[in-house]
Amino acid sequence: MTLAATVLAAEENNPLLPHTYELVVGGLAFLLVFLVVGKILTPRIQKTLAERTEAIEGGIQKAENAQAEAQAVLQQYRDQLNEARQEAARLREEAREQGAQIKAELREEAQAEARRIVEAAHAQIEADKAQALAQLRSEIGRLSTDLAGRIVGESLEDEARQRRVVDRFLEELEGSGTAVR
């Protein structure tokens, strides 16, 4: 084919009409790309993208789980802390109650003891008084008889008589005492 003929032939080409050989080449080229890119490679990248999505979602899931676990532990700790606080408050309350009770008991005991001491003192005093009175009575008797004997010059040696005289004297004294009072 000469150059001129080629040029002429080319000029007759209508751009809207395809060359048969170009249809064949285009078809084969597209088929090749479809087989390599579409059939072999696209599934690979799809698989990788899916795995990546899964990995990211898995990571997020893991993080969420960890957070939930941390929340649970925190809650647990808070509960325990609350419990401990309440326990402490309860113990404190109990101790206070016990303290008050002990104090009350002690006071009770002290008062009882005090009462007992006072009563013992009273009794002692009564006894001492009685004893003193008794002593006084015999002393007074003796002194009086001594005094009377000296006055009358007569010794009332006779015991029985002496006591009788003294008793009579004392009764008179008491009787006059009550009458005076």
Partner: protein, 264 residues
């Protein structure tokens, strides 16, 4: 190219026409099919395979280097094309959609890559291959999932319209779905690449002609404009090339999704 050079030799500026899309065999004695666009198509397919292989052959859970770029492409197609129209079926159709998007995108980019400078999809055979593939899948899935009669019934008689409208609606929908859709699907991609390449060639040849072939005081500013416009339009073309690859893939997902579920 040959024609342009021949005519330009006269000294008159000759705007490049559709003949710039005609390529003779690569070397004299080569088979008639071994032309530049064929070679680019094969190289493009191989590059996509190699790039995708380095990105996805052994994908890591924590992506590095080219895998990042590959994943960016993958998630772009998945989130922008597949999921809006296919929903939970998106993953299943990603092999087709990703292959489609990557190959179309690189073939389009060849239009602005120095030396190569030809968008493969400016030859209508390639868009036709893509569109026909999608068309076959669309009709097959439609009949499979909606039944032979159901598919056409859903297509031609979408519920909820007054009865009289169907007289007009039914044939229009039939033609629109079975004839116009695949046609525009292919032609939209082809025409964008074709026109884009033509525009780039035009401004480039303006710059080349008035600055190098025939430098005159009057012509030089025009040449500068041509040069600037070439630069500007190259940037614009990159955008169009990406947009058309995206649009083609999105429509493919839409057609497949429409066949899987009668969503009227």
């Amino acid at each position: 190219m040959t024609t342009l050079t021949l005519l330009a030799a006269d000294g008159e500026f000759q705007a490049p026409g559709p003949e710039i899309f005609n390529f003779p065999p690569l070397y004299s004695g080569a088979p008639v099919w071994l032309t530049k666009p064929v070679l680019l198509a094969v190289i493009g397919a191989l590059i996509i395979c190699v790039l995708a292989w380095t990105a996805f052959a052994k994908p890591k859970l924590v992506p590095r280097g080219i895998q990042n770029i590959g994943e960016y492409g993958y998630t772009f197609v998945r989130d922008q094309c597949a999921r809006p129209f296919l929903g939970k079926d998106a993953e299943r159709w990603m092999p087709l959609l990703l292959s489609l998007f990557l190959l179309i995108l690189l073939w389009n980019f060849f239009g602005v890559i120095p030396v190569l400078q030809l968008p493969v999809n400016s030859h209508i055979a390639y868009p036709i291959i893509f569109a026909v593939t999608i068309y076959v899948i669309k009709v097959y899935l439609g009949i499979k999932h909606q039944g032979g009669i159901g598919y056409f019934k859903n297509m031609m008689f979408p519920p909820g319209l007054p009865k009289g409208v169907y007289v007009l609606m039914a044939p229009l929908e039939l033609i629109s779905n079975l004839v116009l859709a695949p046609f525009t699907h292919a032609v939209r991609l082809f025409a964008n690449m074709f026109a884009g390449h033509l525009i780039l060639a035009f401004f480039a040849s303006v710059g080349f002609h008035f600055l190098f072939e025939q430098l005159t005081p009057l012509g030089a500013p025009l040449g500068v404009v041509g040069f600037l416009m070439t630069t500007l339009m190259t940037g614009f073309e990159i955008f169009i090339q990406f947009l058309q690859a995206f649009l083609f893939t999105m429509l493919a997902a839409m057609y497949i999704g429409g066949s899987l579920h009668a969503d009227h």
